[in-house]
Amino acid sequence: MFMHLAKPLAPQPNLKTLQISNLSRRGFIRGTTGFTLGLSLVACTQNKPETLAQDASPIPDNSNVDVGPLVLISIAADGRTQITNPRSEMGQQVITTVAQMIADELDVPWDDLVIKQAVGDKKYGDQNTDGSTSVRNHFTRFRMAGASMRQMLTQAAANQWDVDISECSSELGVITHSSGKTLTYGDVAEAAGKLDVPAEDDVTLKPRSEWRYIGKDKPSYTISDVIRGKGTFGIDVKVPDMLYAVIAHPPTLFGKVKSLDDTAALAVPGVTQVIKMKEPEGEAPSFQQLGGVAVIGTDTWAAIQGREALEIDWDAGPNASYNSKAYAKELAATARKTGENKLKRGDVAAALKSSAKTISADYYAAHLSQSPMEPPAATARWDGDTVECWACTQNPQAARSTVAQICGVPEENVTVHVTLLGGGFGRKSKPDYVVEAALIAREVGKPVKVTWTREDDVQHGYFHAVSAQHMQGGLDAYGNVTAVLHRTVFPSINSTFGPAVQGSDFELSLGATDNPWDVPNMAVEVGKAKSHIRIGWLRSVANVYHVFANQSFAAELAHAAEIDQKDFLIDLIGPDRQIDFSKDGVTYPNYGASIEEHPVDTKRLKAVLNKAAAMAKWGRDVPKGHGLGIAVHRSFLSYVATAIEVAVDSDGNITFPGIWCAVDAGTVVSPDNTKSQMEGGTLFGISNALYGEITATNGVVDQVNFPDWRVMRMAESPHVFETHIMESDAPPGGVGEPGTPPAAPALANAIFAATGQRLRSMPLLGQNDRLDMSKVGEG
C-alpha cells in the first residue's frame, strides 16, 4: 500500500486512507493523478498566527512570516478538487474541518473533494497541530485560500468570455455569466492557474448566512476506513525491505550504556542487529533521541524479544537522584514560601489580616503520561544523503528540522510524511522517535520502523508536570472574597529545552495569571523547581493543575461563606467586563491571539456557567451518596463550564449519573465534532484526576504499562453526557483542549458535595481505585 509513497516524486497522492469515503463509494479511482495544475496561492494570514508555544519550544516559529506561495488547492479538468491538508489528524477530525473551511469559500460540491495530506514543509505555513489551533488560528487563512481560488476561476471564465467579472457568479463548481452561459471550474482551471493571486483586500469572504459547510455536520473523512481496519497510522507503515526496531532506552534521563552484552539478543530468532544509539547532546533533552540500545529484527516481536535478552549495565547519570515522593514534599514546601510575583493587585497580606475569615489549602497533582492509544512510531528510509520518514507526528516541520540537524543533512534532504495519528494529546508534538528511526535506518542501511512499546511510552515520555499549589483566601462578614493568593510550583516545560528552573509566563497564563475573579486584592506567585525527567505538553497543559486548584478553592471559599457554590462563583467572577490582565503586571500571551479580537469576556464565562448549571438542574435534591459539582474556565480562547453528578457507594466506588457541559467556542465549524471533543476532553480530565499518576524512584519511572498506569475504561464512564454549544458570532476558539481543565475541579467539588470529603491531591482515588471512606465528612 505504501509503495507509491516510496517514490520521491512529490507531490505524490496522499495516503489512501485520507481520501473521502463517499468518493470510493461512487467508484472514484483513489489515485489522484490528473491534477496537472497545482495552483499556487499566497498564504493569507489575516489572523494573528499562533504563538502559543513561543516560550516553550525551540521550534523556529514560521507562522509569523509570509510563507510564500502555498499550495492548498488544485483542480483537475474533470472538476475534482484536491485539498492539501497541512494539519495532523489525531481524532479531532481536522481533515474534515479543514475541507469544510476551504470548500465552503471555494464553493465546490462536497463529493468532488479529494484530500491529500501535506508533508512537513514551511511552505504550508504553521503545521504544528497543538494548542487547539487548527481552526482558531487558521479560520481566515483557509477560507481566504478558497475564496481567492474561486475568484481566480471566475476571473478566468470572465476572460474567456471577454466580459467583466462582475457579470459572473459561481456556485458549486460552476461559473455562470449573466447571459446564462456556464463553464465549470475544471474548464478554466488551467487558465486560472496562470493568473495572479488576488490581493487579500480584493477578496470578499462569504457572509455567515451563505455558509454551505461551515457550522454544519459533515461526515468524517476517516471514519469509513477506520471502522474497517483500513486507516494507515504511523505504526502501520510498511515499505519494501523494511526491518523493525525497538529500543532499550536508558532507564534514567541522560543515563548511558556502561557496558553491553548482546550475545543472547543476537541469538533470538529474527534479530538481525543490535546497535548502540547515539547519545543525546548537551544538558537539555529537547527533541533528541534518548540514547540506549536498538534491537533490529525481521518483525516487531523479534525485536521485542531481543530487547528482553540484552544485558546492559547502565550509568544512571545526573537524574538518578529523582524520587518523586521526596520531590512532592519539596514542591509543597516551596509553595509555602513566598515566590516570584507574577500578578499583583492591591495588598493581599493586609487584606487577609483584616478579613473576617481566612482559609488556605494546598493542592497537589502528579505527573501524567499522554499515552495516546497508538504509541509513538516512525519509519525511515535513506537513499544516499536523503531520508524519507513516515510518522504519526503532530509537528512534521519540527520532525524535519530535528532529523536534519541531528543527522547532519540539509533540511531539503528530509521528507516527513504524516500518517494518521492514533491520538496525540501533546506526546506526538515531540519528534524524538522520528529522529530515532532516521538514525537507526542510516546505520542499518535499510528502511527501519521504530515502534515504541507501551512500556517505552509510560516510562520514557515527555511527562506532564507534577505540581504543588498553595492558596489563601479571605472573606468579609458578608461572604465576599477580600483577597486571594495563588502560589504555584512545577517543573517547567522550558526545562526540556534549556536550563529553566521556574514556570514560564506562558504556563502561568494557563489558569493562574488569567484568573478572572473580581477580587480587590490578588497575587499569583511562582516558585522554583528543577526537573529530572522530560516535561512536555499534555492536553490543556498547565491548565490541568492550575484550574484544579483555583476552581476547587472557589468551592472551598463558597463552603466557608455558606453560599451555594455556583451562585458564589458567579459573584466571584463579578460584573460583565473585558479583563486587562496587564493592569496587574501580568504578561498575558492570550494563547497567541490578539486580545482585541479575543478579549477575556466575563459575560461569556458566566453564561456557560449558568448554562451548565441549568442543564444539570443545579440546586435539585439528589439521592443519598450523590453530589453535584461545577467548574468553569476559559482556555484556548473558548469558555467551558462542566457540571458533574457523582454517586459514591459505601465502599467508596464512584460512578457518574451525568455530566453536563456548556461550551462557547465562538464560531463553530463542526458542531457534532465539537461535542465529541468536549466528551473526550472532559473524560480525559476525569481519567487523569481519578487515576493518573506517574511516579519515579531513583530517576526511574515506577509505572510500566496499563495495569499500573491507569486510564478510564468503559465501566467507569458516564451514562449521560450532554453538551450545549452556545450560539456565537465571535471568532473561533479552540475545542480540542478546553474541555479538560474544568473536569477535575468539577469532579472534586462533586465528591465534596456527595461525601463532605475535600480532595486536594490528584490522583483523587486511593487504594483499589476507591475513595477512602474513612475520611468522609472531613472538610
Binding site: 500500500m1 489525531m90 481524532g91 479531532q92 477530525q93 455536520d217 461526515p219 468524517s220 476517516t222 471514519i223 469509513s224 476506513d225 477506520v226 471502522i227 474497517r228 481496519g229 483500513k230 486507516g231 494507515t232 497510522f233 505504526i235 510498511k238 530468532p269 529474527g270 518483525d299 516487531t300 516481536w301 521485542i304 499515552s371 495516546p372 492509544m373 497508538e374 504509541p375 494518521l420 495519528l421 492514533g422 491520538g423 494529546f425 515502534t451 512499546t453 507501551r454 457534532d672 465529541s676 471533543q677 466528551e679 473526550g680 473524560l683 480525559f684 481519567s687 504499562n705 496499563f706 486510564v711 478510564m712 475504561r713 468503559m714 465501566a715 464512564s717 458516564p718 451514562h719 453526557f721
Partner: protein, 151 residues
C-alpha cells in the same frame, strides 16, 4: 516452522518463530495492520480478533495455538452484526482517532452475537477490556444499543 492459519476465510502459511503472537504475525508477516498494538499485555483490547467466534487478545496468543481455528479480523468481519455496528458507529460518529476502534468493534460484535439486547452491565462487562484514550465510551455505549435494535 510453517504454520497454516485460516484468516477471514483464507488460508495463509506463515513461518515465524514459535511463540510469536498472532498480533505480530498479522501485522508484520501478513501486512494486516487493521488489528492494532496498544499494550502487548492483554490490557487494552486494541488487538482483539475472533477465534472461532470468541474475542481474544491476539497480543498474548501464540500463533501456533490457533492453527486449527477460524480467525476473523477487522478486515474480514462483515457479518450482519458487524455491519449493524458499523452503521451505528457512522450514524453516531463514534470514532475520534480511530486507533482503538477495530478492537472496540470486534468486542462489540462478539457481545451482540451472543446477546441481542445487552444491558448497561452487559456492555460494561464486554467492553471494559477495550481502552479508548480518546474516551469515546459514551458514544460506543449508545451505538451498541442502536445496533442492537437493528439485529
Amino acid at each position: 516452522m510453517a504454520i497454516t492459519l485460516k484468516i477471514n476465510g483464507n488460508t495463509k502459511t506463515v513461518t515465524a518463530p514459535e511463540g510469536t503472537p498472532l498480533l505480530w504475525v498479522l501485522r508484520d508477516h501478513l501486512g494486516m495492520t487493521g488489528t492494532k498494538f496498544g499494550c502487548g499485555v492483554a490490557q487494552c483490547g486494541a488487538c482483539t480478533v475472533h477465534v472461532d467466534g470468541t474475542p481474544i487478545r491476539s497480543c498474548i496468543t501464540a500463533h501456533e495455538d490457533v492453527e486449527d481455528t477460524e480467525i476473523v479480523t477487522i478486515e474480514g468481519a462483515n457479518g450482519k452484526v458487524t455491519e449493524a455496528i458499523r452503521s451505528a458507529w457512522e450514524e453516531l460518529a463514534v470514532p475520534q482517532c480511530g486507533y482503538c476502534q477495530a478492537g472496540q468493534i470486534m468486542s462489540a460484535t462478539a457481545l451482540l452475537e451472543t446477546n441481542k439486547n445487552p444491558t448497561d452491565e452487559d456492555i460494561d462487562a464486554a467492553m471494559t477490556g477495550n481502552i479508548c484514550r480518546c474516551a469515546t465510551y459514551v458514544r460506543i455505549r449508545k451505538a451498541i444499543k442502536e445496533a442492537a435494535k437493528t439485529v
